[in-house]
Symmetry: D2
Subunit: 487 residues, 4 copies
């Protein structure tokens, strides 16, 4: 059976060889059971469990274009604009169910981008990368892998190209070429779900020139490959997760689910030939980067909308708990949250509906509209979050810890004074307030805000693309025609 359950996925993580992971100054021996890491694993596991849930299985699965098997959509090559739209809908459902980043879309987006790029390289250079990659996809489908799409290099001095850096390793590159493969060195930063993955699908991070050929490397290595070290990124309110009590759960806001970002260091890692999908064809880095970015910018029009639904729901819940749900300004602010959130969704759907078939046969989103989508994602979640803070009232940043509610000395007094509308349980009110803290300042804010800003490329990257893709010359012609400028 191809479709793993969440439980089977977690088991598969345990079966990997040992990983070298550093977090908070120490080596983590058992990542799967570490409370901080486990919350992020739970989010990924949802992508497996919902595939078995009849309500969502249509969205969560697809028929493989390679084998015809029913597979998890995260392993799927999109074969229509409807597929592209279904991807967005699936991500929205997962954002709704996890309230955070579930980490698996980078892999899906890199699968599709590498697929179309290898085909185009082969067309020009008579290489056989695409067939290799099809074989790779077969394994991914069969094993129901989580793939870490591994793109962003640390970059060092940003005013210099890879080959000009003082330390060449700040971009991943080939340091040795053998008959049976290559050895790579370097690091990838901001790697979402790195430790929760089975494979790292490594891609170059920007357009490369001839002199950067060693950096034009696309390949895959298993998460437990020799030479890899993980440095766990710490995030807002991370330590609350260490309090594994019920009170700790309350103060976490979202006790079950979290995200994960790591720095991955590749210290002379060997890659066998069959896992190499680009090797020096620097002409195609731009195509790979731009198509991957477009897919991933589309993704944000789904996943962040799902989390946005949680913010809207939190706003409506706390308004009710505070007894102000009928105030016209509250209703209007909630309407604005919905409006902004659905605008993002519209952008996700539109770049999908306007997608097109690539020469390789899979479908790619409309590049301009995908960039427009992401650009809005760098703005509206911040305003949605601000509106939620407005509606919440200030208690979510001044509320005593839930331990005060467990302590018999203090419980009654705290419950007495933090009471809300009649009939509302004070603890429920506090739980929603802590969820709001989590979403707007805490662990989930990292994903909902900062990741919305910088994930899939920072705002300026989209602006450059929007400008380039907009056909200004044609628009000038329109204006001049109407003004009767001969020109």
């Amino acid at each position: 059976m191809v479709l793993k359950t969440g439980e089977e996925y977690i088991e598969s993580l345990r079966k990997r060889g040992p990983l070298t992971i550093y977090m908070l100054g120490e080596k983590v021996e058992n990542p799967v059971d570490h409370p901080i890491i486990r919350a992020s694993i739970n989010s990924v596991a949802l992508t497996y469990d919902l595939a078995h849930n009849p309500e969502f299985s249509d969205l969560m699965t697809a028929k493989s274009v390679i084998t015809g098997n029913t597979i998890n959509r995260f392993c799927h090559l999109h074969k229509s604009t409807e597929d592209l739209q279904n991807k967005v809908k699936m991500l929205r459902v997962l954002g709704q169910a996890s309230g955070t980043c579930f980490q698996r879309c980078v892999g899906m987006d890199s699968l599709n981008a590498v697929y179309l790029t290898t085909y185009e390289i082969d067309q020009q250079f008579q290489t056989d990368y695409n067939q290799r990659f099809i074989d790779y996809i077969k394994m991914a489908e069969a094993e129901d892998w989580v793939i870490d799409g591994c793109m962003t290099d640390p970059k060092g001095d940003r005013s210099k190209r890879p080959s000009e850096q003082q330390d060449p390793d700040v971009y991943v590159h080939v340091v040795e070429r053998r008959n049976d493969g290559v050895v790579i060195r370097g690091a990838k930063a901001h790697q979402t779900g790195a430790i929760n993955s089975h494979e790292h699908l490594i891609m170059p991070t920007l357009s490369m020139r001839n002199e950067d050929k060693d950096y034009a490397i696309c390949c895959s290595v298993p998460a437990d490959a020799k030479g890899i070290t993980y440095y766990y990124g710490r995030q807002s309110c991370d330590l609350r997760r260490l309090d594994e009590t019920e009170a700790g759960d309350v103060d976490c806001g979202n006790p079950l689910f979290g995200g994960q970002e790591c720095l991955i260091v590749f210290d002379d890692v060997f890659v066998p030939n069959e896992r190499i999908f680009m090797n020096g064809e620097s002409e195609f880095c731009t195509r790979l980067v731009e198509s991957f970015s477009a897919y991933h910018r589309q993704s944000y029009g789904g996943c962040k909308v799902g989390v946005g639904d949680v913010l809207v729901g939190a706003a409506a819940s706390i308004a009710e708990y505070n007894g102000v749900e009928k105030a016209s300004h509250i209703r209007d602010k909630i309407t604005e949250m919905i409006h902004l959130n659905e605008t993002l969704y519209s952008c996700g759907i539109a770049c999908s509906a306007a997608g097109h078939k690539t020469p390789a046969g899979n479908y790619l989103v409309d590049l301009l509209l995908a960039n427009v989508c992401k650009q809005n994602v760098t703005r509206f979640p911040y305003e949605i979050s601000r509106l939620l803070q407005d509606i919440a009232g200030g208690l979510f940043v001044t509320c005593p810890s839930a331990r005060e509610l467990r302590n018999p000395e203090t419980r009654e007094i705290v419950e007495k004074y933090l009471v809300g509308a009649e009939g509302v349980d004070t603890l429920d009110r506090i739980k929603i307030l802590r969820l709001i803290e989590n979403l707007t300042l805490g662990r989930a804010a990292v994903g909902y805000l900062t990741e919305s800003m910088h994930g899939a490329g920072s705002p300026q990257a989209q602006r450059i693309m929007i400008n380039r893709l907009s056909d200004l010359e044609k628009k000038k012609k329109l204006a001049k025609n109407l003004a009767q400028v001969s020109d």
Copy 2:
């Protein structure tokens, strides 16, 4: 041949019986040749001419679902979500080509809304409105009609229902019922392209109750029906159109194209039974109003985007003429204009792609997303227009008239001092500046700004729908699940 040319369309207007039209205190005897009206007719004529243009004929035409004939898309019942998207694309093309409102979409949107509503009325009441309406559509297709979708009543005192008004006539209603038809009285305000239409398809303007049955009337009358009077709305800079010289053309900004808004008064107009499509079934007013509004709110995600392209083009042109096209802040502002404009387009496409088949068989847009689309249209064009004014520099409001450039006494001096970047013709620069005036303050601003605000319903109308359609209860459940509130 079903597809008229623009020229044939204009001829068909001349063939109508005489219309009673008042403008600027006088009766207009020959509307087709009146310079103010003619500019608006030119815009409508584009919808005919482009159907014959091979570059656009795919978008501009469709196969009738009734007869199988190739017809103008403006007469079409949408038969797929692709049709809905093509409608948006067609409107964008026309906005680009006219730089203003081309007035014909209200008819297309009312055709589709009345079609689906009559079907649903028939299902409930065993009436035969739908068949009557199909016959009507056949004529519309065969004659390639411009239909004025006629919805907005003057409304009088807005705190009262139709049947409570001091003067019952401020809403169109039935004043006499005969065997062969009904007599109606009242008025419709803000009627886009009223005089340029062949038919007025009259619809109720809001939800009606039992006691408002006389107001629950949907029917059609020809533009030259006995008892109709037109009051031409005057608009910003309208008088410039009266200067029919070359200099006048320059100062018009957009010499060829304009829009049109009228107050239509129905003074006891007879409607035969075969043109009545709802008659007292007040339960279905909401369905008719909401589906029409949704179609029309979608429209704005096309037509205003096309005009937005003209604003972008005007910005890029004037930047070039001023010699500042490479300044980073200019480039960034143009990028922002494009970004906002493409966001509107994304909303137009998304509500189309998310459309669904109605019981009657035609396709309806997603109601929530169509409202989201229009809500954005009440905002972004204002910002796009502001950015264009920023980029333009102040000359578009301080420039001497073009007559100074025709007057040999003054021409050389004005040309000398209004010179721009080297090699740019001063007159061309002025033409673009006047186009910018036209788009942001003048005749086209009425369509691009105020109509974007109030056309297809004012902003608050969309907010009410967005709130109602958003399933807040489900969203509250999502938040409570994550916070582990039992509830």
Copy 3:
């Protein structure tokens, strides 16, 4: 008596020698009685009449620091931060009373800027410009002059300095030096109230270098000097002013008051020595431009706020006339209009309160805050205007002309159907709608929107100053201190 009345001011305009004025292709022989020009003269006349109005005379007048006489504040050298604040308050009152640009502040701002700059030039070069200028101010005070602060050159190719232009005349410059004075040539564009002034106080438009010395000229010439030609700028809806009937007044929106912008060409105009206040001291152009700009950017925190009050009042009036003044979303939008308007006022007051004494002895606003003030003025009026259009409903762009209300054939029907809330006169409703058109699209929109954008420097000019004046190094130090970066 120093303080003229409005009537005396108008008489003083008639007493000037003949001016050469071109408008709409013709020479204007009698500007004072030309209906388009007269509306702009009426606005200036308010600055005289209100000085005699006991309610406003405290604000409108001041004690001269030179003679001790009571003078119109527009001729005043500010002698305290209270004076600077009173200037802002005076401008707000005039904006409220005229609903448009009253044109006289440019002169006040140039008086203060030239005063402090001439003093500083004298300190460095032992010239006697300041004494000359004091003599000039005495005349300005005694004659209660309107001075046109004359700064903006047409600029030609903006990528080149004045001395590099193909045509040297696109910047005003000295073409002949005589014992008794200089001869200047060139033009000034966008000259607010040019024809309504007694004097043109000419200033360089930007920082100059050594090689631009001929362009570093500051001097004054009378409005009727030999060699001056005026080209009247045409503006949105200008032709409505030509309809001098009561119906024309209604359709003008603001029948009495308007603005004025001209291109002034100086064709070898002689300037006697006593009217020269800078002559080649290019080092001081920056000081003159920056101080003038700061004063003038402050001004916008007063005059536009006054016009903003009219927009707020129009919003509240039309809401009442439409019968929706109690709707919560209407109230909220009006609150937002007020909030934005008062934010602008706060900026006008703050840069005044933070002002300081110059070496010359008069007071200068805080440069940073004055630029911040103007930057907001390039944004908020557009949003205030958008909100007014929202509240107004669409009738202000679809309403028949007022002539239909004078025509006995049509009057009753138009009144019947354009009726508003009970008890409201339909004509009153239309008058307010036309005022709204005037303020947001028509003649006053030029002043309230476009002039807010470009007057006193375009937005980017303020951004450059804001960046330069903000002491980033100190702010970096603050952050590093807190983060305990040694640095």
Copy 4:
């Protein structure tokens, strides 16, 4: 000597009787040395130390209007509009120096509000509250007290008045009246700096009616009074403060300074007559609340601007460290941050400069402009924070902990890969990134964002005041005059 040093202040806290404090489920026995609390005490201590710093002593001190002594400005009754402006400047300096909330302004604002209100009560009721309060102020000055202005009740069901609540204690009220004083019960929520204060100056939280007389109580009790319990509010990233190592300091972002919010419960606390300043005069609750709110809304135009300066500095620092400080989009975003921040400052200065003398003799800010100031503070800091996150890049949420930089196993690798522009120390870069996390998501974000939203009243509270104070009738008259509506 009246002016304490920071050290003396901390000593004075130790000298208080024991406080009952709960935090994280436990009693805190020694708050002064608790690492979480200590950071907030350090911020308050700055308000003492800077008074001794010659650079700031002019701002930080004032001459008492009561005794003529030089006192800390936080104990001062403002005696001029200059004083009001100096308050704003002082708060800006402290925001710059602490990067967080320094907690002492609530006391200053309540001193001034209670002073003017007691005077007005006395005038009407021949009471002697004002003299009592002057005696109280003398002590505050002499002891250089931190006073906790204690206003916000928990409020329970917000749709009900105090006397209608199920539990009357959700508003502080008098439960017993004795000859020598009263006994009060209830709680105050969101109490900034509660534990760091010497006194709680209790005020009613809203307008009261006759039936709410027991709630119309204004009085003061010492922080260590019998019957008071403190519940420490937990906040984003609070646990990082518990890591008292150098690495912990780095990860705190702002190792020295923090804020503090508590729930204070008054369980039958006795107040002697001489500390009662209102007792049942419900007519004056509105005056007290509105004047306190206005003072406190003004405060935000100072303190948040100072913190905003730190955000600007952090942006400029990280841009430099990343090597992108010259990119035009980076410069433009920093300019926007400055612009927004200085707009807030302008609002703080303007409501001060427009202040007026009260009947009691101290100065009160302009109520309308103070509300406008705070309304902007509920918006711009969010946008400033968003821009900082944009400029920062994503590393501030993915960076490994500083312990990895202390661990010899990992240090070199982390330093190698997190390198920035040449010459920049990697640890310095990380310190600034952690400061950015602190300011936009962590502990300081609570103060800079959420407190900006809800402190001194939530946004809707200001909108109600802005609407009420704006004299709409006068503005309607302006519009009608211009439109020549007789009315």
